[in-house]
Structure formats: C-alpha cells, structure tokens
C-alpha cells in the first residue's frame, strides 16, 4: 500500500490530507501517479501543476521518478515559510 499525503490547499482539492491506497500496476512513475490520482479525486488538475512538487519517502523527487506501492508520496504546493 502507498501512503499519499496532500499538503496545504491540495487537501481541499482531494478532500483528504492523507490516504493509504493500492497503486494499480500501471502506475510506475510520478507522472502516471499525478494523472491517475488527480482523475480519481476529480481534482481538476490541481495535482498536475508544475509548482506542486512531489516528495517520495520524505525526499523531494526529481521528476519523473519511479514510485512503488510501499512509498510515502507527498503532494506539496509551494512552501512559503511559517
């Protein structure tokens, strides 16, 4: 199972800050993941934006990057400090 996190406004776009989900076998990289999960949640492209960075297992990913069903994957809008 993959653990998906949605930070900031993306929790509003997906309806959840956090979900544990079985990635389909066809979802092998961040590009496929973005497309698929944005459609799943009806997020209207919010998860596809260039300014949204992905972190895989707490490290910022250089995309496209491979994803596996054991990863924690975070969708991160631009960070603006505290």
């Amino acid at each position: 199972m993959a653990r998906l996190l949605y930070f900031g406004r993306l929790a509003d776009a997906t309806g959840t800050p956090l979900e544990t989900i079985d990635l389909p076998a066809s979802i092998a990289d961040t590009s496929a993941l973005r497309q698929w999960i944005d459609a799943e949640h009806g997020s209207s492209g919010a998860l596809l934006e260039n300014t949204v960075r992905l972190a895989i297992n707490n490290e910022i990913a250089s995309e496209p990057a491979p994803v596996s069903n054991a990863d924690e994957i975070a969708f991160m809008p631009p960070v603006g400090g505290g």
Partner: protein, 152 residues
C-alpha cells in the same frame, strides 16, 4: 536546538533558557513572531501551520548549520509552532548567541529569512469570510535574496 510545537510556548521562558545555556557569549539576539490580527487576507481569527516531518526539521537544521558556518555562533535555538493559533500567539522564536553583537544579529536575521520564506510550512488564514491558504509572494523572496550576495 530545534522544536516544532503543537502547543503555545512562552518567548520569555525560551529566552531565559537560552541565556542560561549561552555561557561565555557576550551577545544574544532573539526574534519572536506573533500572529497578527490583520494578516494578508484581512481579519484573522485563526492561523494554521502545517509541517511535514522530518523534512521541515531537516530544512531548519540545515539553515542553522549554514548560519553556524557563516557566523561565529556559540549557540542557536529555533521553536516553531504548528497547528492552529490565535492572534497574539507566538508562531516562532529564534535566538542566537555570539561573542559580538553583529554576528548574533545577522545570524538571527538569516534564520528568520529562511523560516519565513523557504521553510517547509503551509499556512492557512481563517477569518470571518472563510479560509485561505497563503502561498509565497515576491517580497518574501527579496528578503531571502539579500543573503545570496554574501555567498561563494
């Protein structure tokens, strides 16, 4: 010493602790950031900060290490709130100690620029008309860019 706290903290107690730890220093600078009642989107009842641990802490640690490389600091301290805060509550406390005041001022200023512009936080303001997630604005980057001049 870096702390992310989901409950309120007391800047005076933090400075007292830090001063006790900063033995031999001649200069201590502290910065306290408070929730303002008149933030970017108008009247604010609640400020919410989200962090992503341990990425957020790792970024702050790296900024502290960079500050300690650039300036001769005896000690430094960062406390940052996460979660929901009311106007007037402390958001952030930074303290630096050095032999001389210039290093202490610049080290604290540098850390605050990192924390206010680059640190891994997401921020939401909630007022009478609803909630807004706040994303970076240009002015924030200008402050942070001041330090680039002294690099390399």
């Amino acid at each position: 010493m870096i702390t992310l706290s989901d409950t309120s903290f007391d800047p005076g107690a933090a400075l007292a602790d830090f001063t006790a730890r900063a033995e031999g220093a001649g200069a201590i600078v502290s910065f306290t950031g408070l929730v303002r009642p008149d933030a970017r989107t108008g009247a604010v009842n609640t400020l919410t900060l989200q962090a992503y641990s341990p990425m957020t802490e790792r970024g702050i640690k790296a900024a502290v290490s960079e500050a300690e490389t650039r300036w001769p600091l005896n000690a430094s301290m960062v406390i940052h709130r996460v979660g929901d805060m009311a106007p007037g509550e402390p958001i952030v406390f930074v303290a630096t100690a050095s032999a001389h005041r210039r290093a202490a001022f610049e080290g604290a200023d540098f850390l605050m620029d990192y924390l206010k512009t680059e640190a891994v936080f997401w921020k939401k303001e909630t007022g009478p008309t609803g909630s807004t997630w706040i994303e970076p604005r240009d002015e924030d980057y200008a402050d942070s860019a001041r330090w680039a001049d002294t690099q390399g």
